[in-house]
């Protein structure tokens, strides 16, 4: 058992992945000597060399485009996009190329590329450094999209993502990078496409992923003081969704709130609400509610506390689903 921050758990996971397979590469801006702006790749270049930990020119489309080429040559690149708001120059390569190439080749080409993206707000950053662009990618067939929420999952999920033969967009909750947990380095993790019940309860199901899992756990603890039993599910995989675990929970509780930082409008919560209405129609006691960001560009950081879902907004939604 080792106490690791989420950032260090990712670092150890990447190190293990690189040890296990010489074809695994890390590439991105400042990932080498600096170890990444969040230090997730700290020390990797020193140990694995400049050919395997590649400081790239400052161009995101180039990072993903050349990673595709490296993957075509048999490598398994793990790309770092420095911040969520900088992924858009690479969106073309991710959406029109990375996601589609296996299908276009009738399965003859495999593209085991991982695109790591620190995501979400809550760190008081300047604009373009606090966004939650997951829905752009969950809307794209051919990609898998996952989000880790804690050091234990981060350690195994990054290794599973590297081992997976499909392209994966891997979201990391940047405000949780410094959260610590005991990590069992030899313990196998839950499969990458499985959701996890992180707190059991019987009155309401909270669905969350990435940075909002912790917020929901805190909300559930506070609700308990009011005598409410709140179940929390960490989705882990955003595409595909683990509907078995989700439906089983909501069929039991009859009430559900989806929480994410991304704007509510056409966000992942909409898809979840629709799927739950199909899977749990006869058990639902209330509509599925969503708590998330507003349909505005991400605000200046002095306003982000209003924009980001917090304990009170989650509890308010819990109250509202229980009022039905």
């Amino acid at each position: 058992m080792t106490v690791l921050t989420l950032a260090k758990a990712l670092n150890e996971g990447l190190r293990a992945a690189m040890d296990a397979d010489p074809k695994v590469l890390v590439m991105g801006e400042d990932v080498g000597k600096l170890g990444g702006v969040f230090r997730v790749t700290d020390g990797l270049q020193k140990d694995f060399g400049e050919d395997r930990v590649i400081d790239t020119p400052l161009a995101e489309s180039g990072i993903i485009g050349t990673a595709i080429g490296l993957a075509l040559r048999g490598y398994r690149p793990v790309c770092e996009i420095q911040f969520d708001g900088f992924v858009f120059p690479a969106a073309d390569q991710i959406i029109t190329q990375l996601a589609k190439m296996p299908l276009r080749s009738l399965g003859k080409l495999k593209l085991p590329v991982v695109v790591r993206i620190p995501c979400g707000g809550g760190i008081g950053a300047v604009e373009h450094h606090s966004e939650s662009p997951e829905a752009y990618f969950t809307h794209t067939g051919g990609l898998r999209v996952v989000a880790c929420s804690n050091p234990v999952d981060a350690y195994t999920m990054i290794q599973d993502a590297v081992r997976c033969d499909d392209p994966i967009v891997f979201f990391e909750p940047k405000r949780r990078y410094w959260d610590k947990a005991d990590v069992e380095l030899d313990a196998p993790g839950l499969p990458l496409d499985k959701a996890k019940v992180v707190r059991t309860g019987s009155d309401v199901t909270l669905l969350a992923y990435g940075p909002m899992v912790k917020t929901c756990l805190e909300s559930a603890a506070a609700a308990e003081e009011d005598g409410r039993s709140v179940e929390v599910i960490d989705l882990r995989s955003l595409s595909p969704l683990d509907m078995e675990v989700i439906a089983a929970s909501v069929n039991r509780t009859g009430r559900c709130v989806v929480v994410h930082e991304a704007p509510v409008f056409t966000g992942l919560g909409g898809e979840l609400a629709a799927r739950i209405s199909e899977a749990c129609f006869y058990r639902l006691e209330s509509p599925v509610l969503r708590v998330g960001g507003f349909s505005t560009p991400y605000p200046p950081s002095r306003l982000e506390d209003h924009y980001l879902p917090d304990l009170d907004r989650v509890l308010d939604a819990v109250d509202r689903v229980l009022a039905y």
Partner: protein
């Protein structure tokens, strides 16, 4: 304001080894020795490739293909560069590289399959070392550079070559690929077919300097070759590939040519260019000059030319037959190969849709 460029006059710096009249000339930097058999073989390639293209255009006109991007006029650029490749080199095409596909041994029926809509590219890129066609302009340049970086890491003696057009040189990806190739010294050849037109936009809408001169700003050599001269395209590409394989990094080759047909079968070039231009370029036809050379040097007789024509006719006929026989994919194919590993949503949607379809059979 626009800078004066393009036009019909070949600029002086253009590498040429065979004139439009079929006269063999020497160039101080690019030398080539071809046997009679090799020249005849190049001629055969050029003729067969043009025939494939003509058949495909006809098939589109008859409603058998959704679209076709004709290579008419660019046969020499494609066959010359395509024949410069060795088995270990990897080619990254646009959607017009039917001639390169031919040189890489891709059965042309696979190209038709894409334009007929039965799949997005039915060939095995690894079997032929010929990647899938790229339709989003310039995206493939980065793939070629990444692939070349893989070659470097493997310690292999090989190169990648990437095809793109004059219009693509304005794309961010192409410029990023130049930067990547330069700073990593990647073994890649940038083969730009400057066919003078990006659909309706002439070259001066993309650049105010000759395209090959862009390379120097990125830190590697650029060379302009007569793109209608198969000898020169072969020689220049061979050298660029050899340099790349030898660790000397990238080269940009600008093949100065002309798109004699429409951009695609959906295009109408009479709306934006004058007929005189086409007529002038017809005098520089890439096939006629090789034919003239073969005649002039008495390297081939009429029997040879007749034989190639007959072979072309047969190829066209066979291609037509194969195209009409292409089966439509089954509905299951919608869900196949989207992911390499099991995927719950694919399984769910597949099952739901197939059982919906099965409902009609009861």
């Amino acid at each position: 304001m626009t800078a004066p460029t393009t036009g019909l006059t070949a600029p002086p710096e253009l590498v040429q080894l065979l004139t439009p009249e079929g006269e063999r000339i020497e160039h101080p930097d690019y030398h080539i020795d071809l046997t009679a058999e090799e020249v005849r073989s190049l001629y055969r390639d050029l003729v067969l490739v043009r025939r494939i293209d003509l058949e495909a255009v006809a098939l589109q006109r008859q409603g058998e293909l959704g679209l076709w991007a004709s290579l008419l006029g660019q046969e020499a650029a494609q066959v010359g560069s395509g024949r410069a490749l060795t088995g270990v080199d990897m080619a990254f095409p646009t959607y017009r590289e039917h001639g390169v596909a031919w040189c890489r041994g891709v059965d042309p029926i696979n190209l038709l399959g894409l334009f007929r809509g039965v799949n997005h590219g039915g060939w095995d890129p690894y079997e032929h070392n010929f990647h899938l066609y790229s339709i989003v302009i310039g995206t493939q340049t980065l793939h070629a550079v990444g692939y070349a970086m893989g070659i470097q890491r493997d310690g292999a003696e090989a190169a990648s070559i990437v095809y793109f057009g004059d219009g693509a040189t304005s794309q961010g990806d192409v410029n990023e690929s130049f930067i990547w190739a330069s700073v990593f010294n990647a073994p890649v050849v940038f083969f730009c077919q400057n066919n003078q037109w990006a659909i309706s936009e002439p070259l001066e809408k993309q650049s105010r300097i000759p395209l090959y001169k862009r390379a120097s700003g990125f830190g590697f050599p650029g060379v302009r070759v007569d793109g209608n001269d198969v000898f020169a395209c072969l020689a220049v590409t061979r050298k660029a590939l050899a340099d790349a394989r030898a660790g000397q990094g990238p080269t940009m080759v600008e093949a100065f040519t002309y798109r004699m047909g429409a951009h695609t079968t959906s295009d109408d070039p009479t709306r934006y260019r004058v007929a005189d231009e086409l007529e002038a370029w017809k005098l520089k036809d890439p096939i006629e000059r090789v034919k003239a050379y073969l005649f002039r040097r008495e390297l081939a007789d009429q029997e040879f030319f007749d034989k190639v024509e007959a072979e072309a006719d047969l190829l066209g006929k066979e291609l037509r037959r194969a195209c009409l026989a292409l089966p439509d994919p089954s509905p299951e194919a919608l869900f196949e190969h989207v992911y390499a590993e099991p995927h719950a949503l694919m399984a769910e949607e597949r099952e739901q849709y197939l059982s919906y379809l099965a409902g009609f059979e009861r």
